[in-house]
């Protein structure tokens, strides 16, 4: 098998197998570290400070199953009259599993009329997203939603 006449075939087969293996690995292994729920908590504290967080008033909608984690629609609604003296000031989206816990921060005010924001996010796997809203009186409110991210069959890269 060490005969050089063999090498082109062996080399080709190996190169191919190596390339295929590399592709498969790249598809299976996340190339980055994941954030932890603790890191998500830390990111929330970094954005909003140490005030207590109340559960409620924030409604988060995600599809029950996401066909692909690259683009998942998220709808956020906060119970607020959005008046001059009682409105939502900021909203943050946080992930306990993405490489970076903070996904987005929105700033709004009474001009919005309605505290409602939709966007599309990346989810590195099944997880529960947390959404925090900061009101004009400084109080913090939290909501969450879970989605199952399914794995595609023939992921190329």
């Amino acid at each position: 098998m060490d005969d050089p006449t063999f090498s082109p075939i062996r080399w080709n087969r190996r190169t191919l197998l190596g390339a295929a293996g590399g592709t498969a690995l790249a598809a299976v292994l996340p190339p980055m570290a994941e954030a932890t729920p603790e890191e998500a908590d830390a990111a929330i504290r970094e954005m909003f400070g140490d005030k207590p967080i109340n559960e409620g008033r924030v409604w988060v909608k995600l599809p029950p199953i996401a066909e692909n984690g690259n683009s998942v629609a998220i709808d956020i609604t906060v119970d607020s009259p959005m008046s001059d003296d009682d409105h939502v000031r900021r909203i943050g989206i946080f992930s306990p599993r993405n490489p970076i816990a903070t996904i987005a921060e929105f700033r709004l005010g009474p001009h919005a009329g309605r505290a409602q924001v939709s966007t599309r996010v990346r989810l590195a796997g099944t997880q529960t997203l947390r959404v925090i809203a900061e009101m004009s009186d400084g109080t913090l409110w939290a909501g969450k939603a879970t989605t199952y991210v399914t794995l595609a069959a023939c992921v190329i890269g």
Binding site: N70, R107, H111, A112, G113, S118, T119, R120
Partner: protein, 104 residues
């Protein structure tokens, strides 16, 4: 490319929904190319919507926002004036698009 959806007219005090989408890869900085080299991060960092010259909605994006970022939010129609949408990437380049809202 930029897509904007906003009404041309509204009644005084009406709450209107506006939508915006921009063509951008939102490259996370975690992907590798065919040679195994890391593809550098390249994302839109800021989105701003100004109505009649005042900022009414702002967003800060991180790599967890999907490619070709999409946003929908609301505005209360209070006066006739321009609605300006602008995006700024991590290098400071800015794109913008303006729509006129007539309030009756």
């Amino acid at each position: 490319m930029i897509r904007i959806s906003a009404p041309d007219t509204a009644e005084m005090g009406e709450i209107v929904e506006v939508k915006a989408m921009i063509q951008h890869p939102m490259e996370t900085g975690y992907r590798r190319d065919a040679k195994g080299d890391v593809i550098p991060r390249n994302i839109i960092k800021q989105f701003r919507c100004a109505y009649g010259g005042n900022t009414v909605f702002e967003a800060t994006f991180f790599p967890g926002i999907a490619a070709n970022p999409f946003l929908a939010f609301c505005l209360r129609a209070t006066r006739t004036g321009p609605i300006e949408f602008s995006w700024t990437d991590q290098h400071g380049e800015t794109w913008s698009e303006t729509r006129q809202l007539t309030v009756s």
